[in-house]
């Protein structure tokens, strides 16, 4: 039921398999690499860029945060907000 396999796999993957079976270890390591690749999840899809209107909202949110943190003065915040909203 695989205890020896589990031990062999662990030793090979951890790179602690001893020299007497170097050839075995190399061959098995290739197998495990292959299996790992087969099981690896597909690369993550990048999220599509948000639509343009969301972009403005995000910028406003950022500005509001900067304002709250005191990075932007009241005047600077008002000016930047007006620019984004086009008013």
């Amino acid at each position: 039921m695989g205890l020896l396999r589990m031990a062999a796999r662990t030793a090979v993957v951890a790179g602690t398999a001893t020299a007497v079976s170097g050839r075995v270890a190399r061959r098995q390591a290739n197998k495990y690499d292959q299996q790992a690749q087969e099981q690896a999840p597909p690369p993550e899809q990048y999220a599509p860029p948000p639509p343009a209107e969301d972009d403005s909202m995000a910028k406003l949110q950022q500005l509001a945060d900067l304002h709250t943190q005191g990075v932007l003065s009241d005047q600077e915040f008002a000016a930047a907000k007006a620019k984004i909203l086009g008013i």
Partner: protein, 249 residues
């Protein structure tokens, strides 16, 4: 320690840390082999079915599978996996009380290495008695390369799925036995247990004699459920034997 006791606690973490993701590939190998048989292979007896991983894949490929295992704890997990209608029997080899003849019998993941030479012979004989004409008996065994590898890597430890494990093996090359102790400790709460397993490394000559004594013909021995020939680095050999076709006329 009996075959049954050896799995009582391990069953709980078996699927998570012991098995390797090989069953789909093995089932595909078996499926392709059986497709070559002009008489369809529909019924399969899985001897030492454990938690039902291979049986599950074979069912997915359209086979009707009966599972036999010595461990009630392993069968309980197989029951969850295969559903209430699956035929699962708790029996200890070489006992094999099942109804009818099967198109194929499989015994995977070194189940037969748990048997001593005499038990192996008896099990192969009993299995042959449950095969139809032309039926298949396919099993895997540890090779001598595995015996050497285990002797050279007597202590191995690692972590998997929140469990720390240590596997200690003592190989007796003259007796061709291996005693293995596995200690498993759950990292979250330190809960631990240990189990002892004893396996036998059968010689090719012993296996061949047992097969021929049971009236089975050896078709091929390959590397780990592939069509590749055995090499010095093969740790697991896959044996394919068949019951002779009935004579006509």
């Amino acid at each position: 320690m009996s075959q049954v006791q050896a799995y009582s606690r391990l069953a709980g973490v078996y699927d998570e840390i012991v098995v390797e993701p090989c069953y789909e590939r093995w089932a595909t190998y078996l499926h392709e082999l059986w497709e070559s048989d002009p008489t369809p292979v529909r019924t399969v007896l899985d001897v030492g079915c454990g938690t039902g991983l291979l049986a599950f894949e074979l069912v997915a490929l359209g086979r009707s599978v009966v599972g036999v295992d010595a461990s009630g704890s392993m069968l309980a997990r197989a029951r969850q996996r295969l559903g209430p209608d699956a035929v699962l029997l708790e029996q200890t080899l070489p006992e094999l009380r099942v109804d009818g003849d099967f198109d194929a019998i499989v015994s995977s993941f070194d189940v037969l290495n748990y048997l001593g030479p005499e038990q192996l012979k008896a099990t192969i004989t009993t299995a042959a008695a449950h095969l139809r004409a032309g039926g298949w008996f396919i099993f895997d065994l540890h090779t001598d390369a595995m015996m050497d590898f285990t002797a050279a890597n007597a202590i191995v430890s690692g972590e998997a799925e929140g469990q720390h494990f240590t596997i200690r093996s003592v190989v007796d090359p003259a007796a061709r036995t291996c005693d293995t102790w596995i200690d498993i400790r759950r990292l979250s709460d330190g809960d631990s247990f240990a189990e002892h397993h004893r396996q036998f490394f059968h010689t090719d000559a012993e296996v061949e004699a047992a097969l021929s004594g049971a009236g089975l013909s050896l078709v091929t021995v390959t590397d780990d459920y592939t069509r590749e020939a055995i090499s010095d680095s093969t740790l697991r050999s896959t044996w394919v034997a068949r019951f002779p076709e009935a004579r006509h006329g």
